[in-house]
Symmetry: C2
Subunit: 183 residues, 2 copies
């Protein structure tokens, strides 16, 4: 699965063929077709595998009640920068890539993406409500709306970093949100 995930992440939903996937995994094509009904079914599983790591990272950051709220949000953004720096900027985020590409070809994947964004939004909103409680952000902050905006904007910054192949757009995102929206 991990090698298949890597290939689809690098080449895209349309760009990676079943042959690419089985070659990367070093298994015969028959073993793929025994396990997965289609490339779509496989890609749904790797999306879940990918999001499992994101969810673990969210637990360590946004939902880590032992840290002050804005520090958690900072850690959440830093974790993404660190991750993308490690895997290479050109790959971007599988969730964002699938939103642009696979959501057109697969209704199953599109619906799963909507659920994933909603879960991420709720975690950011959870963290923002803690920030309001601690007085780190203004009382009037619309936590749910701002959380939705931040999740979408983060994906936009990642997409930009993928295109430019450097961290500048993501560092700009971090600077802007903490010096204005969350100041």
């Amino acid at each position: 699965m991990t090698e298949g995930l890597r290939v689809v992440h690098e080449r895209g939903y349309g760009g990676a063929s079943v042959r690419d996937i089985v070659e990367a995994a070093g298994v015969p094509q028959g073993s793929f077709t025994n396990h997965f009904a289609s490339k779509e079914a496989f890609c749904l599983e790797i999306l879940d595998l990918y999001f499992k790591d994101v969810r673990a990272m969210i637990q360590r950051t946004l939902r880590n009640d032992s840290l002050p709220a804005l520090k958690r949000l900072h850690a959440f953004v830093d974790a993404q920068i660190k991750y993308l720096n490690r895997i290479g900027w050109r790959n971007g985020c599988l969730i964002g890539n699938f939103s642009a590409e696979a959501s057109e070809h697969s209704e199953m994947i599109r619906k799963r993406l909507v659920e994933i964004y909603e879960e991420m939004r709720q975690s950011v909103a959870y963290c923002l409500r803690a920030a309001v409680k601690l007085g780190e952000v203004p009382q009037k902050t619309e936590c749910d709306e701002l959380a939705g905006f931040l999740i979408a904007s983060l994906q936009g910054a990642i997409l930009q970093s993928k295109t430019e192949r450097n961290s500048v757009p993501l560092e700009r995102f971090k600077h802007l949100i903490f010096s204005t929206l969350l100041a």
Copy 2:
């Protein structure tokens, strides 16, 4: 070209084959290969065709000196909402879609996307500097940085709207930036 643009916009860089493109255009495959060295070359041309319309829209909005600055920015965002509503939310923005997908497969397209984002960023910064001059936003506004943030965030909101297939993320983007960042 227009029909080819439509097919690639709907199915994606990897999802649309040369056969799909010539079928949609109603021309023989030979006429495609006479005109374009490759799908990559064709997609670079449709990206320019697409951006030509965006540039015209920018002239009518962001760079329209006859309007107050923030009204121009408002008109710029509204024009995108109106456009996406017309073509269908599922298609998203060709520039964002190519950033997620084609930039991996084509260095020519990736470089063109970087230029396109830079041109858009400069137009937003131009408008923001006018807003500073008019006292519509604080004097200390970092126009170039904020412009880069807004362009990336807008792409993120469009990607989200594409996934959810409705205008909610884009309306949220508009509400948030005008009630906080540009208030």
